[in-house]
């Protein structure tokens, strides 16, 4: 059973409390830098992302090429900046999409007792598939595009969010103020949105951060295998796939994108941990 959060009054200054924790602050700082670098890629990047230069292929890191060049003489640093755009947007889109499906499923099964058993079994069945495997199968069925990758990963991660939302909803449903609203004849959709949904946002936020991290890892894995985003589009995963062939002569081509994944995922986990400690006091003392 995942985090059951006892509804808290919403904290307006969650960000400032998060910044008060050194590890979370470090995570946020790194994430801000990475996001800015991705947004400002055309400004920061010293070269065009697909500028070929056979003369300077597989050059080691130097002042001209900070992270070296790849097999086609393209600047690795530049491509990493552009790759960050794809990897981060795919990850973020997956969080949004899976949150929508997960919230609908979780609210339904948590609030309506009759629907609980069937929806919960469906969630169990979806959780039985290993994430990468299910994503691969869905991408194979839908076609390998960035949008379909988001849909596939969104479907894969939705059940996890659904479980968290369901667990919280089960608790909130029984609270006096929800009962009072019901007794006053407040329509169910309003109760769900105004009272229940507002109070499941905390666990949703915590879980969403971890799913962001997972989605970045999964996208990298799928793109690396060649079953995700098209190899022509730079993502950290496709860059590692390219660099793999030249690992002997030019290890930097695969080293730097991999390091970018590690740093990004680690920062997301640090932020997620901080959020969990702040928003979910029941778990805070343990993990």
């Amino acid at each position: 059973m995942a985090a059951i959060s006892i509804p808290l009054h919403s904290e307006p200054n969650i960000l400032s409390r998060l910044l008060g924790r050194p590890t979370s602050a470090a995570g946020i700082a790194v994430l801000v830098i990475i996001v800015l670098a991705a947004i400002l890629a055309p400004v920061i990047a010293p070269y065009a992302p697909s500028k070929l230069s056979i003369a300077s292929r597989l050059h080691p890191p130097s002042l001209d090429h900070l992270f070296g060049t790849d097999d086609l003489g393209r600047d690795v640093f530049t491509r990493m900046l552009y790759a960050a755009r794809t990897s981060l947007s795919v990850g973020f889109a997956v969080v949004i999409f899976s949150s929508i499906i997960g919230t609908i499923l979780g609210l339904t099964s948590g609030y309506f007792k009759r629907l609980d058993a069937p929806v919960s079994r469906l969630i169990d069945a979806m959780m039985a598939f290993p994430d990468i495997l299910l994503a691969i199968a869905l991408v194979a069925a839908l076609g390998a595009t960035a949008v379909n990758l988001v849909i596939a990963l969104g479907i894969v991660y939705a059940p996890r969010l659904a479980r968290v939302v369901r667990a919280s909803t089960l608790v909130i449903r029984e609270l006096p103020y929800v009962e009072a609203a019901r007794a006053l004849g407040v329509p169910t959709p309003i109760i769900l949105i105004r009272h229940v949904l507002r109070n499941v946002t905390s666990p949703l936020l915590v879980q969403g951060t971890f799913i962001f991290a997972n989605a970045i890892l999964a996208e990298a894995g799928l793109s690396f295998l060649g079953v995700g985003i098209s190899p022509d589009i730079p993502t950290w995963g496709t860059m590692i796939a390219t660099g793999r062939q030249y690992m002997d002569q030019a290890p930097w081509v695969m080293m730097f994108p991999g390091a970018a994944i590690v740093v990004t995922v680690l920062s997301l986990q640090l932020v997620g941990d901080g959020l969990r400690d702040l928003l979910d006091p029941r778990l805070a003392k343990d993990i």
């Binding site: 079994r121 469906l122 169990d124 069945a125 979806m126 039985a128 598939f129 290993p130 994430d131 990468i132 495997l133 299910l134 691969i136 199968a137 869905l138 991408v139 194979a140 069925a141 839908l142 076609g143 991290a213 890892l217 990298a220 894995g221 690396f224 295998l225 060649g226 079953v227 590692i240 793999r244 690992m247 002997d248 290890p251 695969m254 080293m255 991999g258 994944i261 590690v262 740093v263 995922v265 680690l266 986990q269 640090l270 941990d273 003392k285 343990d286 993990i287």
Partner: protein, 313 residues
């Protein structure tokens, strides 16, 4: 007790039925005609019709579903389009590397995670605790396929301790095959140890302050007996759960790791099936792995019943 077992059994059967349904549906969400997509634009109408019937795509959707379920129940997962053999035998041939890779990774992960997690909880707040917690979080952020590539570069290419890829030639000895599993299992096991470490630490912290632990201490019992016998035993259920969960995650990791190390396992079979749009193989692999997961979960639930008399379903 019997009631709990029957309840769980019924739940498991329902979930299994849903798993079969999901696997059936996945291929049907393909936009357009999967047979036409597989054969390409130059295929004749007759060829497409023939492939449709081979894929079980002819007839109404209910007929298709009925046929599919009937086949699955009889252990018939259809024919691979490209391998020219039944999906079940293709899977069976590839099962060994995947099985051993998963088992060894889980073993490595558990052997690292249990002592580290227990000690970190015991010495809460110490340098050891902080260091291992940080390392665990770092390990959980490393893509296993990337770590695998680094291992190949360092241990296989630079030091020459292991072969860079494969599973030994045909007829390779068991020891030779095991040798090929060392690096992939290490890469996967190290990354997976993070989750188990964190959970072990957390559930040990939960019980270390409990009354019975204090009682055991005040009886003058030795520290390691208190920690291992009284505390660890009670922290075991959540740890078992997370080990089961990790086993499932490992299969996901195995898909990518097998490809990196050129292991001829189920994972690389699925990846090549996806690239060739060999739908029956993809479906069969999904079904077997998800089915195993459901069975393992059922077994873990039964284990709870045996370990903890308070558990009821």
């Amino acid at each position: 007790m019997l009631r709990s077992i029957l309840n769980r059994l019924f739940g498991m059967i329902v979930v299994m039925a849903l798993v079969v349904t999901i696997v059936f549906v996945i291929v049907r969400v393909t936009p357009g005609d999967p047979a036409a997509v597989m054969l390409g634009p130059d295929a004749s109408a007759a060829d497409i019709a023939a492939l449709r019937s081979r894929l079980g795509l002819d007839g109404s959707i209910l007929e298709q579903f009925g046929r599919y379920v009937l086949g699955v129940v009889q252990g018939d997962f259809g024919q691979s389009i490209f391998l020219g053999e039944p999906v079940t035998s293709a899977l069976a041939q590839r099962a060994e590397p995947t099985f051993f890779l998963t088992v060894f990774s889980l073993l490595i992960a558990t052997l690292i995670a249990l002592p580290v997690g227990i000690l970190a909880a015991y010495k809460r707040g110490s340098v050891f605790d902080q260091a291992t917690t940080t390392i665990a979080m770092f390990a959980a952020s490393v893509p296993s396929f990337w770590l695998g590539l680094l291992f190949i570069q360092f241990f296989a290419v630079k030091l020459g301790w292991f072969d860079t890829s494969g599973y030994g030639g045909p007829g390779a000895s068991f020891a030779d095959r095991l040798n090929h599993l060392v690096l992939p299992a290490l890469a996967l096991g190290l990354v997976s140890s993070a989750l188990i470490t964190r959970f072990t630490r957390a559930s040990m912290l939960d019980v270390l302050n409990d009354d019975y632990v204090r009682t055991a201490r005040s009886k003058g019992m030795s520290e390691w007996r208190v920690v291992l016998k009284h505390a660890f035993k009670n922290a075991l259920i959540p740890i078992l759960t997370v080990i089961g969960l990790t086993a499932a995650l490992l299969i996901s990791g195995a898909v990518v790791t097998e490809t990196v190390f050129g292991l001829p396992g189920v994972g690389s079979l699925v990846v090549s099936a996806v690239l060739r749009r060999d739908y029956p193989v993809i479906q069969g692999a999904l079904l077997v792995i998800a089915g195993l997961y459901v069975l393992v979960n059922f077994a873990i639930d039964m284990l709870y019943l045996a370990v903890d008399p308070r558990v009821r379903y």
